[in-house]
Amino acid sequence: MTERTKDKESVVEKELSLGPVHPALIEPFRIRLFVNDEIVEDCELTINMAHRGIERLFEGLPVERALLIAEKVCGICSNVHAWNAVRVVESGLKIKVPDRANYIRVLINEIQRIASHLIFFGHAFEILGHETFSMRSFLLREVFMDLMAYIGGNRVMPSVPVIGGIRPRSDLTESLKRVILERLDDFEKKYLEYVDRILADPLVMSRLAGVGLLSKDDAIKYHATGPNGRASGWDYDIRRMMYEYKPFDFNVIVLKEGDNKARVVQRALEVIESLKIIRQVVKNLPEGPIVNRDWIPGEMDYTTMYFETFRGELMHSYSLDSQGLIRGYKIRTPTPTNLAAMEKACIGDHVTDAVLTIASCDPCLTCCNRVEIIESGKTRIMSEIEVVRKYGWRR
């Protein structure tokens, strides 16, 4: 910024600072918009307002116990973190997972994916100012919160995966299968009406279309994975490479436009694909055991697993020592890279659209508060306290 102000001294630039606690942002993060006559010229996001040192908490815990914390990394995508933490140890110690367990894991993941996308609609339309669409989205979401409570026993933390399978409580019974199919039919009818209504609304579409453009090259450069990358034309979905998703037939939605409208429409279409997967799970559910208890915690090398979450690419990586205790846990969530791409995307737009553009990448800041400092080519991770001691509060 300083260089630019030196070049054009006649131009008066103003800083607009939002956050950390602000109505438009439920989670604490700080947006600094550098505006020139209501046009955003630069944007800076500070995301380290809520660091709780979760990676250090894993250090030295037994694997079975650590999965409790892994689920509490995030409350929207709780099942994703639990499942990926389990996949690391399953792949490292070569534990075989029964088919029925894999099917039910996919089922709960897709249920949560739909719930997460509906939160996105609620949040985006609330920022946009259309409260009716926001409320309708929250009402539609209750179907899936109920299903999660029936399957896992809790609306937010279903705790379905354990090492080697799933919890016996989350097994699907015949009556539960019937309930799921009934609710899905009912939901699909209402949801299609809802999406038609959004797409036909000229006021909403005029706010969304053509705003916050992110090109395919930028998406790849900033590694904006998940729905944001796919809405910019980057055909990248880890679900296609996962053996858990092999038995299911689904499409990966790729749109070319890369604006806010594309990001909304992409998620709207992805919900329909998820419904397709859920129906296939319930219809083709194989019989058999649900958990494989035949494993011993032992020494394991660093193992890394990637996973397609609702927001993008997730990485979990850790090793086990000879007693089966966790060493060196590392999580990389999609939000930091997505937010970096959105910093780029909101440049050149009107200032009222900037918050909407940032919210359109579906940021989830609970799980992304870590600091990476690159000094003379070496990469190492610093805790927040270390950073503040070294660089001070405002760096």
Binding site: V21, P23, E27, H51, V73, G75
Partner: protein
Amino acid sequence: MGLKAIARKNAIHAMLVYTEGCNGCDIEILNALLSPRYDLEQYRILLTWNPREADVLIVTGCVPWQMVEPLKKLYELIPEPKAVLAVGSCAVNGNVFTNMVGDIGANAEVVGPVEKVIPVDVKVPGCAPRPEDIIAGAVKGVPKLMEAP
């Protein structure tokens, strides 16, 4: 019931502050307060984002050290009489984030449950608490506001 209580009863404003939980509780609260299914507005409890308007402060999450000062400031900005709701296991006792008996012992990043920072009136436990429980907790905080001079 005095005149002040009658006036206060018709518009109780709740403010939500997020001190690094996991988002689960926040969305359940937004569900409880806003969404058409568990509608708290039918009991005339409204959501606000302005501390000067608020009567009830709803806090979620274990409080990390960055959020201590903002939380105290928000609490001071709310005019008397005020009630504080701590929602979720993290806000009530720290949940898994304070200490899980790993190698590090107590977690240095987390200052602790909300009680250590500001006085708490009603605690709603659960990870995440059901919307019904949150509504019951919000209604329990109401008499304190009514009976204040």
